[in-house]
Each structure stands twice: as structure tokens, then as C-alpha cells.
């Protein structure tokens, strides 16, 4: 009984303590990471989206040629809608 209760309070203390510790640590790390990145690699040409190559195999490539941008926009919207349907 008493044991269960003390275990419960222990879990609460430890749990909240750990959650705060960990997320504070994450704040520090994240802030530091962002500073580092933005100082030394300032938006250095973001990793370009490459056309996907299949694992090991032929397929694909032949990245499609340009199409009328207005139609393309419409299509993209439609596909997106369709995908999220």
C-alpha cells in the first residue's frame, strides 16, 4: 500500500524531473545546433531533391520535361488533393 504510493510519487518526481531535464537539454542542444549551422553553413544550397533512383536497379530517370506552369500548378494541386483524399 504505502509502498505503491511512494512508488507513485517517486515515479512522478523522477518522471517530471527527467522530462524537464531532457527537454531543457534539447533546448540547449537545438539552440546551439542552429547557431552552429547558421554560422558555418548559412543556408548552403539546401540538399537538392534528386530524382529517385531505385535500389540497385534500372527503372526511372528521364525526369519529365517542362510543362505549361499554369497547367502544372493545377495538376500539382489536383494530385495533392487526390493524394490526401
Amino acid at each position: 500500500m504505502n509502498n505503491l504510493m511512494s512508488d507513485g510519487f517517486g515515479l512522478m518526481l523522477l518522471g517530471m524531473g527527467f522530462v524537464f531535464t531532457f527537454l531543457c537539454l534539447l533546448i540547449v542542444s537545438t539552440t546551439y545546433m542552429s547557431k552552429l549551422i547558421n554560422r558555418y553553413f548559412p543556408e548552403a544550397a539546401p540538399v537538392a531533391k534528386k530524382p529517385m533512383a531505385a535500389p540497385t536497379a534500372g527503372a526511372s530517370s528521364a525526369s519529365a520535361s517542362a510543362t505549361d506552369p499554369k497547367i502544372a500548378a493545377a495538376i500539382t494541386a489536383a494530385i495533392h488533393q487526390h493524394r490526401n483524399r
Binding site: G8, L11, V19, F20, F22, L25, M33, S34, I37, K49
Partner: protein
């Protein structure tokens, strides 16, 4: 012949149906109703509801174990839900795969733009641990039969994160899994009803009207490095949270890195959908009358509601404190989003903010604490698994 006819009659549901099974079928239908008509997290509650109906059909054998003879040959096959539950939920595989998919759907941009909102995601987890105390009190008082493991599993409902709740419950209190999952998803769906009164009660009109500064642009590189940083910190400080957060970060890394879009796309669509269907059926299989129709379920449902409310309050209060000490203004409403329930809780914060000030768009600001809440509850889950299991 008459014998066979009699057999067939004895096989019917009418003859075999026990009262508890009938009730649980009704519960299953209720979940289906809530999913379809009320829009309560239908992606999960619909399969769970169907699973609850199917598992309670007497003689249908959805949870039947397979029977093998001495030589290892199958004498009779197991039921669908038997294979799903033991293959995907008891093992923890399905929640982890779903967490990977959720990671692939999550944009950490708003959180990276304002990392101190992580504190809100931490504060809101107080709901989890307050609920543990509640469950422990009920157990210690002899009112309900909860162990510490049960209490921990019940508390995680307050994390407002379905896969985390299922993962923890499957490890700490499998017999309560059905009730816990149903509570978790139901309350997540009820966020727009549960949260606003609490948010209004704890804030003044002026506080709710606070406008926040626009978020800075977050670079691609930050988004790519972040999941790796989280994984390493988890590895160093809380390995018991590594299954959940490791898979979550893996999914997020696939999303952000830009070189494996076909994998990210599959993780967000075909794979998570397939697993969601089976996860729902498997969770539903735990909605048997013995496991569900008892006083403990009432306790779980009530405590879950308490957990949500306390979590919301803790998030809002933390935001008020932070607003006091912060150089830039922080609207306390975004603290409520710290419970996770992505993206519902963030939308609620936005809506309540708009009520106070027509020009106050908090959505993006609330997304930070919102995704921080996912990390926060996964960390809390790790602590519980380590503390209770260790």
C-alpha cells in the same frame, strides 16, 4: 441430420451469445458511430470498433489460438486477430512503425524556430504523472485493483499520443490495453471540447490576445540535423525511450533529408495505412467483456479525462510563467498545445486565440509546443518503462 441442424443452431450467435459479449458489440458499434458520425479519430476508432465487434462474436474464433500436433503440423489455424495481436501489438512492432510514419509526417520547423516552446511540451506531461498518482491512490485505497505498472500505463493517456499509449500499455499492462487505447483516442478527439474551458479559465482576455512575433526561417540543414541530435541525446540519457523516439526520428530524417523521398512517401502513406488497419483490429481484440466491462475501465476513462485536463492546465500555466520572464511575448494559449494531440491541440489554441483577437493567428506558434509534446510524452514513456520495468 437433426443432430447437424442442432449443431448448427448451437453454433449460432443467438444460442451462444453471452450478455457481456452483446454489450461489447454495442460498445464496438458505439465507437463506429463516434468515428463516422462525430469524426472521433476515425482512422483508429473505426478499425478498433470493428475489431471489438468481431472479437465478441461467439464462435467466430477471431482470437482463437492455432493448434499444432506433436509433429508441428497445424491442426486448426488461429483467428485473424490472434495473429494480428500477437504478431504486431504484443511485439510492439505496429506502434513503432506508426511512430515512424508519424515522424515522416511531422514538421519540426516551428519548434526549431522557437526552441524554448519545448518547455511547454515538458510542462504538459504533468498530466501524465498526476494521473499516475490518481491511479495509485485508487489502487492504494483498494477501490480499484491497479498496480504501479497499471497506473503508469493509465497515466500515459495524458500524453495524448495514441501509438505511445499503445506501446506503453502493451508492455506494462496488456490486459488494460483496450480501455487505454479507447480512452486515449477518444480524448484526443475530444480536445476541442475539453481544452477551451480550461484555457479560458486560466487566462485573462489580455493574455489570450497577446500577439507573438513571426517565426524565423528554419534552414533545411537544421531540420536534417535535429532528428539526429534527438536520437543521440536519447541514446545517451534515456535508452528506454529509444524504440519510440528512434523510430520517430528515423521517419523524420527520411522526410527532411530529401534523398529518400520514395521511402518517406511510403512511410507516410501505404505503410502507415496498412499498419493502422491492423493496429485497430488488434487493439479491438482486447475489447473483450472480461477485460473491459469492469470498474477499472470506469477508472481509466475518468483518470484519462483528468490527465488531459491537468496536462492542458499545466501547459497553460507554464506558458504564463514563461511569458513573465521571456523577452518576446508568449501567448499562454499555446501552452495547451503541449499535450500533443497533433495537430488538433494547435488548432484549438489558434481558435481560442482568434476569439480573443480577430487578428491573432497562433497556429504556427502552437505547432512548436504541439510537436514538443510528442517528444515529451515519449520521454515520459521511457522513464516509466525504465522505472517500472527496471
Amino acid at each position: 441430420m437433426e443432430q447437424k441442424l442442432l449443431n448448427l443452431y448451437h453454433d449460432t450467435g443467438i444460442y451462444q451469445l453471452e450478455f457481456g459479449q452483446a454489450i461489447m458489440i454495442v460498445v464496438g458499434l458505439l465507437l463506429i458511430f463516434l468515428a463516422i458520425k462525430k469524426g472521433f479519430e476515425p482512422l483508429l476508432l473505426l478499425p478498433i470498433g470493428i475489431g471489438a465487434v468481431l472479437v465478441n462474436i461467439p464462435g467466430a474464433g477471431f482470437m482463437a489460438a492455432p493448434v499444432y500436433d506433436a509433429a508441428g503440423h497445424m491442426v486448426s489455424p488461429g483467428g485473424l486477430q490472434y495473429y494480428i495481436y500477437h504478431g504486431g501489438i504484443e511485439t510492439g512492432l505496429f506502434p513503432l512503425i506508426i511512430f515512424m510514419g508519424v515522424g515522416a509526417m511531422t514538421d519540426f520547423g516551428p519548434m526549431l524556430a522557437n526552441p524554448k516552446t519545448l518547455l511547454l511540451g515538458a510542462a504538459a506531461q504533468f498530466g501524465i504523472f498526476a494521473t499516475v498518482i490518481g491511479a495509485v491512490l485508487l489502487g492504494a485505497a483498494g477501490i480499484m485493483d491497479f498496480t504501479l505498472a497499471d497506473a503508469a500505463a493509465i497515466g500515459i493517456i495524458g500524453g495524448a499520443d495514441g501509438p505511445t499509449a499503445i506501446f506503453v500499455a502493451s508492455r506494462l499492462a496488456p490486459e488494460l490495453l483496450g480501455a487505454i487505447a479507447v480512452a486515449a483516442y477518444s480524448y484526443m478527439a475530444l480536445v476541442p471540447l475539453i481544452q477551451p474551458p480550461i484555457m479560458r479559465a486560466l487566462t485573462t482576455h489580455e493574455e489570450r490576445s497577446i500577439k507573438m512575433e513571426q517565426l524565423r526561417h528554419v534552414t533545411k540543414a537544421e531540420k536534417i540535423i535535429f532528428p539526429i541530435v534527438v536520437t543521440i541525446l536519447v541514446a545517451m540519457f534515456l535508452p528506454s525511450a529509444a524504440p519510440l523516439l528512434g523510430m520517430f526520428c528515423f521517419g523524420n530524417l527520411m522526410r527532411e533529408c530529401g534523398v529518400v523521398d520514395r521511402l518517406s512517401d511510403t512511410a507516410q502513406n501505404a505503410l502507415i495505412n496498412i499498419v493502422t488497419i491492423f493496429l485497430g483490429l488488434g487493439v479491438g481484440s482486447k475489447l473483450s467483456s472480461e477485460a473491459f466491462l469492469n470498474i477499472e475501465t470506469l477508472g481509466i476513462l475518468s483518470l484519462g479525462l483528468v490527465a488531459f485536463s491537468i496536462g492542458t492546465a499545466a501547459g497553460v500555466l507554464m506558458a504564463k510563467v514563461m511569458n513573465k520572464f521571456s523577452s518576446t511575448p508568449i501567448n499562454p494559449l499555446i501552452g495547451a498545445a503541449g499535450v500533443s494531440a497533433v495537430p488538433m491541440a494547435a488548432r484549438v489554441a489558434n481558435k481560442v486565440g482568434l476569439e480573443a483577437n480577430k487578428q491573432n493567428f497562433l497556429l504556427m506558434h502552437a505547432m512548436g509546443p504541439n510537436v514538443a509534446g510528442v517528444i515529451g510524452s515519449a520521454v515520459a514513456a521511457g522513464v516509466m518503462l525504465s522505472y517500472v520495468g527496471g
